[in-house]
Symmetry: C2
Subunit: 327 residues, 2 copies
């Protein structure tokens, strides 16, 4: 890869300066002039660990690298700002391939109002993307951390869960698709390859006073545990209330697995899990619905610690042993 030539071709695709950005790519550093408080997060995707080029198109890889990073900002309730990308390019990926990766990423920046403001390109034995994202709030207290949930509050999850893990299984074992209508299988694969960071929903939840929030990247139970531990509360999740993505149950059935494995433990859904006061819930759910990201009450915070799953009949279920499917 001719680094300078590739950088020049890439720069042609970048938007002009705007928003917080006073100077974009092309100098030693980008210059921004933020007002208020800043949230910053970093996420790296590595070929063979987080994706395979044999199953994911190049633009989807670029999309996912940015989406997973932005999901952390969504979980803070941040308004989107800038992104910076370190791209590791293997010898068998040519300049056009690099641009496909970056085009997938740029398409998402345009849709979400994010500015790609800089980055670095280097040779690498495998395709690698490390994405740093920056988001904003008027004051630091407006950001929603993990540690504010209190007993008695409701637990809300955005969108549907289990779909990304089912999509991964479909990508890895094509025969599983025969259990599903073609459009449902395609939808699940898309969930895996092109997750949608819930930036708008995160801001709605932050404005509505969510007391704790996290994105579900490691699986609902694993991330619920992080939230419970940071908040010093227990969480009770009602299995019957979970908004499980269409087709997930059929995939589990075909594999002879517990139908709750994927929604509870699969991970990579990049939905938001938030705690909020019961009296705020009605209006928040209506606003999320209006914003195009419906959310569901799936349980509540209780005194104590840890995460307990309650089955449809009210019995306690032990789901401590979920395996991480894809990290």
């Amino acid at each position: 890869v001719g680094e300078f030539e590739l950088l020049a071709r890439l720069r042609d695709r970048l938007p002009a300066e705007g928003g917080h950005v006073a100077l974009g790519s092309g100098d030693d550093a980008a210059i921004t002039v933020p007002r208020g408080a800043v949230a910053t997060s970093v996420d790296a995707l590595v070929e063979g660990v987080h994706f395979r080029r044999s199953t994911a198109p190049l633009d989807a890889i670029g999309h996912k690298a940015l989406a997973t990073a932005l999901s952390d900002l969504a979980a803070m309730g941040a308004a989107p700002g800038e992104a910076y990308v370190a791209l590791g390019v293997p010898g068998d990926l040519d300049e056009d391939g690099c641009l496909e990766v970056l085009d997938g990423l740029l398409a998402l920046t345009r849709r979400l109002g994010v500015t790609l403001a800089g980055g670095d390109i280097t040779a690498s034995p495998v395709l690698m993307l490390a994405v740093t994202v920056v988001g904003y709030a008027p004051v630091p207290e407006r950001f929603v951390r993990r540690g504010g949930a209190q007993a008695g509050e409701l637990l809300v999850v955005t969108g549907q869960i289990g779909g990304a893990a089912a999509g991964l299984l479909l990508l890895e074992e094509a025969r599983l698709a025969s259990a599903l209508p073609a459009d449902v299988a395609e939808g699940l694969r898309e969930r895996q390859m092109r997750p949608q960071p819930r930036l708008e929903a995160g801001q709605v939840l932050a404005e509505a006073g969510a007391t704790a929030m996290i994105d579900i990247s490691d699986g609902l139970v694993a991330d619920a545990r992080h939230l419970a531990q940071a908040s010093g509360v227990g969480l009770r999740i009602d299995a019957g209330a979970l908004p499980i993505a269409t087709g997930v149950a059929e995939i589990a059935l075909t594999l002879g697995r517990d139908p709750l494995d994927l929604p509870l433990g699969g991970g990579e859904d990049y939905e938001l899990l938030a705690a909020l006061a019961p009296e705020a819930a009605g209006e928040v759910l209506a606003r999320l619905e209006a914003a195009g990201t419906p959310a569901t009450v799936i349980g509540q915070a209780v005194p104590g610690e840890g995460v307990k799953i309650r089955g449809a009949a009210g019995e306690a279920m032990d789901h401590a042993g979920f395996d991480a499917l894809s990290r």
Copy 2:
């Protein structure tokens, strides 16, 4: 690598919040409250491309990853702020090894007043570090870009050059060391493995009104070309004035190479190249000397374009064909 356990052990080593940082590692994102203008840069180091574990100690790898990123901030004249690290960990590097890498990085943060505020850890086929750094200035105009040099201004370079490339040759071919006193050889290897970002010198140059600045990572001539092109001027460099590091000439002699190859084309010195008005030069050089980073006038900006090297006898020299030694 157990990501959560490693993160917990790493977090124990991080400083408490302070400076611009309202919330450090441990949530979905770090929170900062900047005032004024922000410069952000990203730099990635990949094993086998930028370093080898067979020649560089783990802590030096961590040091260099942060140092090369901070060098870009130094070239803006930024005051140091935060760093964020994406770490790719190969299967043969255990948790203690990861901590050695991070300890090298943390030692540099402490020395320079940088806060390691967040990051990501992932599996990777090779050791990989992508470092994002953030620096500050009161107003965006205080940052020094590449494009402001004007004909008649002086060209200044900090420190000494050629040492990093000579150090790389010494690391790759141990027999070369016999041409040098042991401490000189060790000093050159250190220049390669542990470059010192010129943050303080960069701020002195920015305050003194440097009109254009860049760090010398790609080699003096290559980076001078970037500055010349961005500024729309030509640059004339006097070969006889170059502050060539001790031992570089002996290495070149041993290899039968032109003694100017390493200082002009070797790269990785991470010194600063700046343009400034002749009337400002005297005081700036004195202040840099007092700050422990002497600088040297090596030429000037002239009408026209491109970079010309003038030999000791005043004749023009053609050094267009420098090979990049290590990128």
